[in-house]
């Protein structure tokens, strides 16, 4: 009797972690796994919301339409520029910020709360503020550039071919620096003091310390942060949607903002799903290559 209840208890204990994780797991299945499977299915279907009588299997039709879409090259190119420029600048500025913050000074906590503020603001609002600042009529940026003499008449930055994506990238950089700053700062603070002191005793200069100790030590964080940020920026469409809505004539869309355009305006769920599946594949391939190329598994030991 006694021993049976003991094994029963042990069995219960073995089940505990699964029970604890069950709610989260069910949610992940319903809200991540199911949508992905459904999107795959839809991408092979004719499915336009306004034509409910013409829904059915379409084979590769959506993918063919996608690959022959005259906008596609432009949009892929924009996606690349968008990711490389944004993440590159965020990384650089975030790194500088984290290095500056890594030594104690008075009022540091308040300072951090200010510079990390953009992280907590909605992309919608950030898009609106920057749209207003870059506006042709009474916009702050035009005003300042006119004052310095760099312009002699106001420019409609957000309505110019090949230019309109630049203000959006600027807004996105502004938005993302805090995240990089936070991650890198946390990593910097995990470097053991003894290591830096040993370097000081050996007479290592600032640059030497940065490249021989700091960067190798925090490399795993840098890799993961870049990986996560690239995915996040690649999938991000709010600022483009708010500031240019892809305009003029589709010249500033990236993949997700173009997908949202397909969902919202043409309501072509088949093609939108094919675009979504394409984004997923690009990200999966990128992740595997990135982790291989950076030798993530071997990083972090010096």
């Amino acid at each position: 009797m006694f021993s049976r209840s003991l094994t029963g208890r042990r069995r219960l204990r073995a089940l505990q972690p699964y029970l604890l994780l069950l709610p989260a797991f069910v949610i992940v299945l319903a809200f991540f796994a199911y949508p992905v499977a459904k999107a795959f299915q839809l991408s092979f279907m004719r499915y336009v919301l306004y034509r409910p009588n013409d829904i059915g299997f379409a084979g590769l039709e959506n993918y063919r339409a996608l690959l022959t879409d005259p906008n596609l090259l432009r949009i892929l190119w924009n996606s690349l520029i968008w990711v490389v420029a944004t993440v590159g600048l965020q990384f650089l500025l975030g790194f500088v910020l984290a290095l500056a913050l890594n030594r104690p000074f008075r009022g540091k906590n308040a300072y951090q709360a200010v510079v990390f503020l953009p992280w907590s603001v909605s992309a919608f609002l950030i898009g609106m503020i920057f749209k207003w600042m870059f506006s042709e009529h009474n916009g702050l940026i035009n005003h300042l550039l006119l004052q310095i003499g760099l312009l002699d008449k106001p420019v409609a930055f957000l309505a110019m071919m090949n230019v309109s994506i630049i203000p959006v990238i600027i807004a996105m950089v502004w938005y993302g620096v805090p995240f990089f700053g936070m991650m890198i700062l946390a990593a910097l603070q995990s470097i053991p003091h003894e290591m830096m002191e040993a370097a000081d005793i050996d007479g290592a200069g600032k640059m030497r310390k940065l490249f021989s100790i700091v960067i190798p030590y925090i490399k795993p964080t840098l890799i993961l942060t870049v990986l996560l940020r690239v995915i996040w920026v690649f999938n991000s469409a709010e600022l483009i949607y708010v500031m240019t809505n892809g305009g003029p004539v589709n010249s500033s869309h990236n993949l997700p903002s173009y997908t949202f355009d397909k969902i919202g305006y043409s309501a072509d769920y088949g093609q939108a799903s094919a675009l979504g599946v394409m984004m997923l594949i690009i990200m999966a391939v990128y992740t595997v290559f990135f982790l291989k190329a950076t030798k993530y598994n071997e990083a972090g030991d010096i």
Binding site: P17, L20, S120, A237, A272, M279
Partner: protein, 278 residues
């Protein structure tokens, strides 16, 4: 004068440290100034860096002649309920991940982490159809369920990081004293973790408060629109009134900025736990 007695490198550091908040605050400043200007001044011939005449008119209109109060209340309700649900599920799962060794643990971590890769654009249509079948479209419930779900993987990993920081001895000691596991966690571990729990709350709250696309997709009528969704649908229909838009923007910033100021330190810790150790 003191500045110049420092070495060159600390001067550079000083300039660097000054530039970041300046760059960060400029857009906020511009929004604030715009919200305090009269319509005439905003669209006048000369642009003013500080309002010639301060006016609360934009705030008054935002409160009285718009749906903003309704949007604000919706955002508050949705975000608070979302954050509470996220915390409950994350505490359960986070504890499971942090304190047990079991088969499939690595796989579960991998699944949770890979959800971070899935584009919102892939989820929008299937979830729209799912809520359509459940007759939940155009309800606050659809928003709450969605925001809870999409924030769980990250918050759970973050929470498990907070659990790992607390020495297990603390729990063992209580359990040896005859305290059950559940009671031990609730009475001893959770109070110690309070900063982490608050940080997770703010993280989930902010994510729900700031979402745009799910809201645009699921919320149609004014009585369920959140702040960004409501303002967005407004500017789709009418020309943007920058004064009122700025006033609404400032008002919508207040809750998140207020909370963020307090817990920013813990969020930094949580983010790095969640992403680095995860």
């Amino acid at each position: 004068m003191r500045l110049f007695r420092h070495s060159g490198s600390s001067f550079i550091r000083f300039v660097t440290l000054a530039l970041f908040p300046a760059g960060t605050l400029l857009p906020f400043y511009w929004m604030l100034v715009t919200s305090l200007k009269s319509r005439k001044e905003i669209y006048g011939d000369t642009l003013t860096i500080w309002p010639k005449q301060l006016t609360w008119a934009n705030y008054a209109t935002t409160f009285q002649n718009s749906n903003f109060p309704q949007y604000f209340a919706n955002s508050a309700l949705v975000s608070i309920v979302t954050a509470l649900l996220v915390i409950v599920v994350s505490i359960l799962g986070g504890y499971g991940l942090a304190r047990y060794r079991f088969r499939g643990k690595g796989l579960i971590m991998l699944v949770f982490l890979s959800t971070q890769m899935i584009p919102v654009m892939v989820m929008l249509i299937p979830l729209f159809m799912m809520f359509g079948e459940l007759k939940l479209l155009d309800t606050l419930a659809a928003l709450i369920i969605t925001y809870t779900a999409i924030n769980i993987p990250f918050c759970l990993i973050m929470m498990s990081g907070f659990f790992q920081r607390i020495p297990y001895v603390l729990e063992e000691a209580a359990m040896i004293d005859g305290c059950g596991r559940f009671r031990t966690v609730v009475q001893i571990v959770l109070p110690v973790m309070l900063p982490g729990i608050v940080a997770t709350f703010v993280f989930a709250f902010t994510a729900a408060w700031n979402d745009l696309f799910f809201g645009v997709m699921f919320a149609n009528s004014d009585k369920v629109k959140t702040v960004p969704v409501g303002l967005n649908s407004f500017i789709q229909k009418f020309d943007i009134n920058w004064g009122e838009m700025s006033a609404a923007g400032i008002l919508s910033l207040i809750p998140v900025v207020f909370m963020f100021g307090f817990v920013q330190r813990y969020i930094v810790a949580g983010l790095s736990q969640g992403a680095v150790k995860g």
